[in-house]
Subunit: 282 residues, 2 copies
């Protein structure tokens, strides 16, 4: 079966109903396009878990702030279509913003707690944009399983909470971050980095490794781990720390003393590029 | 088939999946129970339009304000079960509040414009409670068609807008208000009225009739119609007007000059009981 490219909500919903009527389980990978190996890994996982693989590509204006990179966010429809075909995608859903937000649009899905802290501080409204568009994509593609990368850890936590709270009958799977050979987490935004910045960008993965080593040696004091990570990042040129956070894996509440499972989450500017990364410390 | 009474989200979703696998179209009538002829009419309409009739009974705490009548809202589970059986309901979904709002619950579905004005002014947060619980009930019962009374006109407009905005693949049907022989709109809250108040409660329907007569005679000035309705209601003892509104049928925006279709919406206290009613003027 060749890959289908669908652009309207109505046709996508009709196709989803067709799959469901045939008893097929739908898997969804929502993306903003400019596909890289991280996205391809999400597709691989989804293919194994479901019968039909739907990938959405939609650079969602609602999740970008007024001073953010919506306009210059990298786009490559032709390249994305080829990569999706190679990855065995059944349906590529590529709506326009006008198709997604029609006429007198006025609805938001809002979460109260897990959307505070971390990325929410510098990106007010970002997670409302994410939860709303993901709720819409779920209603449009009707997935049994939806797959997200752990690189956007807060996004995964927020969506998992939304699905539970709104009783969406969808299984959410988080997939481990795919990294470049030297450890940098794959991200469409890595494209913004010049060669010198690219070298400094390694500080994020180095920080995660350092924190893990400290934990293995018995360190449980969050403040001390944060201080060490802070010192490490500052050694790299062009870097500006937005946050270094140790928090609970599902509530994302700050942790002072590390227990069985803790998330270390980082947001660091390298030049003008904002990078995020995280790991589970256990 | 005898009526099934289900109390948990999980069992309800399993049942809904069963219906869908069999190719059956599900109809949902969401209610707060204390069923009257108005609800039964919604069920009749739903039965005609779908294969399986699900009725939910849930007095949703999230849509009552702190000073409102959540605790004293009339409840009659046994009577409701009998009435639902007689009405040919296939599944009665009766969850507890703990079942609906579990653990660290924190998600709200919010609409921006159509939730302003009318009932929203005296009931802040009410429509967030309504849209959120209805979104949940939709995800739990997976209806093809959901049916609401036009008596709660703003609720119907809000839910119609939410369904459209969030791309829920659900048909929403509004059903004309069922009235007592003398014209009073059926409502669970009519139970609160003493015999004298019950007489005064007729002012709402009399207002709708008056406005329609004025329109038929050529009156198009909203202010004059509102004034006439205001004067009429004030002739009835125990009444206190909350609002008299002439607005657009779907946006609910105020209208100064009546066109092809206008909604007249009223909220009037009769004694301590808040009653609402409305009609389409065309």
């Amino acid at each position: 079966m060749p890959m289908e490219i669908l652009k309207t909500v109505q046709v996508m919903q009709k196709k989803a109903h067709e799959f469901i009527r045939q008893g097929l389980k739908i898997g969804l990978v929502p993306t903003m396009g400019f596909l890289h190996e991280g996205h391809i890994e999400l597709m691989r996982v989804t293919r194994k878990e479901t019968d039909k693989l739907i990938v959405s590509i939609f650079v969602n204006p609602a999740q970008f702030g007024p001073d953010e990179d919506f306009d210059k966010y990298p786009r490559d429809s032709e390249g994305d279509i080829k990569k999706a075909q190679l990855a065995g995608v059944d349906v590529l859903f590529m709506p326009t913003a006008d198709e997604m937000y029609q006429g007198d649009y006025q609805t938001t899905v809002h979460l109260d707690k897990v959307t505070r802290g971390l990325c929410a501080i510098s990106r007010p409204g970002h997670f409302d944009g994410v939860t709303t568009v993901v709720a819409k994509l779920f209603n449009i593609t009707m997935p049994h399983t939806a797959v997200f990368g752990r690189k956007d850890y807060q996004q995964l936590a927020v969506i998992s909470r939304m699905v539970k709270d709104l009783n969406m009958d969808i299984r959410i799977i988080g997939v481990d971050t795919v990294r470049e050979p030297d450890g940098l987490a794959m991200s469409s935004r890595n494209k913004y980095l010049n060669p010198d910045e690219r070298k400094s960008a390694l500080c994020l993965k180095k920080s995660l490794d350092l924190a893990n080593r400290m934990f293995e040696k018995g360190e449980r004091d969050a403040a001390l781990i944060k201080q060490a990570v802070n010192d490490l990042i500052r050694e790299y040129p062009f870097t500006r720390i937005e946050y270094i956070n140790l928090c609970h894996p599902s509530t994302l509440e700050d942790i002072n003393t590390l227990g069985d499972e803790t998330i270390l989450a980082l947001a660091v500017y390298v030049g003008k590029t904002r990078l995020i990364d995280n790991c589970l410390i256990k």
